[in-house]
Symmetry: C2
Subunit: 243 residues, 2 copies
DNA sequence: ATTTTTTCTGCGGGATCCCGCAGGGATCCG
DNA sequence: CGGATCCCTGCGGGATCCCGCAGAAAAAAT
């Protein structure tokens, strides 16, 4: 059994390496890659079925790497080892995990033991392990108690990218009015109130821009998610030259 | 001589600790704090004049901690040791460094030797050390070759927060039209083109929202900067109930 | 001091956004 | 089948945004 590490921080990389050797004595080889691209390549060449990776790396972020790895070999087991439990990350991961796949998500702030336990659970016992904190996010985002529908999240991303109502309508195959309906739902859920024709309330906020701001502040969005969305958008724009 | 470490990642903390002891044999004590709040308190209690800190910590971010530390004792020497060279961070730091203060900014990706050299330069030789990469950002941001004026950056932050033209005008003591002028400058510099009344060009982008998006993608803004700006905004809103 | 450059300001109009009102279609009950 | 609930859609209007035109004020250059 070989384990592939994909992590750009050398310190964390060597720490992981040690932890893996300690937790998995049956492991007979640990490989390291320092960014998503190299990681994908190694995973492909070596057909490694056990991966531990960081999200947010400079070259190619973890989610994209995981997606291509899983696309090529869905039975690969991946442990995500990340600094943050941003909803954007959690949602990004759970969006790409294949049905029935074994994976894990533990925070870097977790203890030594938790990490090692997770390693054994995933790679030996074939059991998913998701950090308590992360699971909290997951539930909040899937169940919609104070969470967001897929549709709402989608439109949030679209306005964060700077798209027009009309452009969103085209892209999502909706009428302009429907897009606006969804936007209003979003505004309500984000607690962004109307700056309408009245001086009793604020009138200080541009709802659209404000929504994006609070989404960022609440970590519904982050740089990584934006980058992915931007790439998707670019691809879509290429397919749809312009009306 | 005592050195204070403010860093939330235990791995990096202990690495720093070792590096400091190795690089500064004349140092007779290394203290550690795992977030900005604790760091400020320790700095105050111990009157420590030598600090190494991370930016982006969960409890209280590095820039705010540095600001209060420098406010209380401007001669304190601070080495910022950060993962990123985002323009938002660089600008944030250079905005708060007192005149004549000795400080440094090195990336975590730098080599062992570079870190140790920086430690000696700052704490012993009283010489500022800024990583090459970071200095690049600094010049790009201060000199305005493809860089942004203070005014432009300011208005960028304001729209990122979701403020209305009118609100920005009030806050910055300008007419609405002037705000719009600055916005147009900003759009040009960000390479955001007009979706004007024509179908020859895009018409797909809401300039205001798009500007924020590309600012994030280019790391002119980041979560940290937004949080600081939001706090400032809240304070201002409190002072100006509503017209 | 005069010219040049930059920035601020008002006016106006077209495009976009925000959203209440209302009808149509889909699904899920009883 | 009638009713309830949901989402999609068009219409319309007030508010906001984007920006060209152009004069006034301020700053910089000569």
């Amino acid at each position: 059994m070989k384990v592939l590490i994909i992590e750009d921080d050398p310190l964390h990389r060597s720490y992981l390496n040690e932890a893996i050797r300690a937790a998995l004595p049956e492991c007979d080889g640990v490989l390291e890659a320092e960014n998503g691209n190299a990681g994908e390549r190694l995973a492909r060449d070596l057909k490694s079925a056990h991966v531990v990776m960081d999200l947010q790396m400079s070259q190619r972020n973890g989610i994209e790497a995981a997606r291509t790895i899983w696309k090529e070999r869905p039975e690969t087991r991946i442990l995500f080892w990340s600094n943050y439990s941003d909803e954007a990350y959690v949602r990004g991961v759970s969006r790409i995990v294949p049905v029935g796949a074994v994976y894990g998500y533990v925070l870097k702030s977790a203890s030594d033991d938790r990490l090692k336990l997770a390693l054994r659970s995933i790679f030996i016992e074939s059991q998913c392990v998701i950090d308590r904190e992360v699971r909290g996010m997951q539930q909040k985002s899937l169940g919609n108690v104070n969470g967001f529908t897929e549709a709402e999240y989608e439109i949030l991303v679209d306005i964060a990218l700077g798209l027009t109502d009309r452009a969103i309508a085209q892209r999502r195959n909706l009428s302009v009015r429907s897009v606006q309906n969804r936007l209003q739902q979003l505004y309500v859920k984000l607690g962004v109130h109307q700056p309408l024709g009245s001086q009793d309330d604020d009138g200080r906020f541009n709802l659209r821009a404000r929504a994006v701001a609070v989404a960022f502040l609440r970590k519904l969005l982050n740089h990584n998610a934006l980058e992915r969305a931007e790439a998707d958008l670019a691809a879509w724009l290429a397919r749809h030259p312009h009306d």
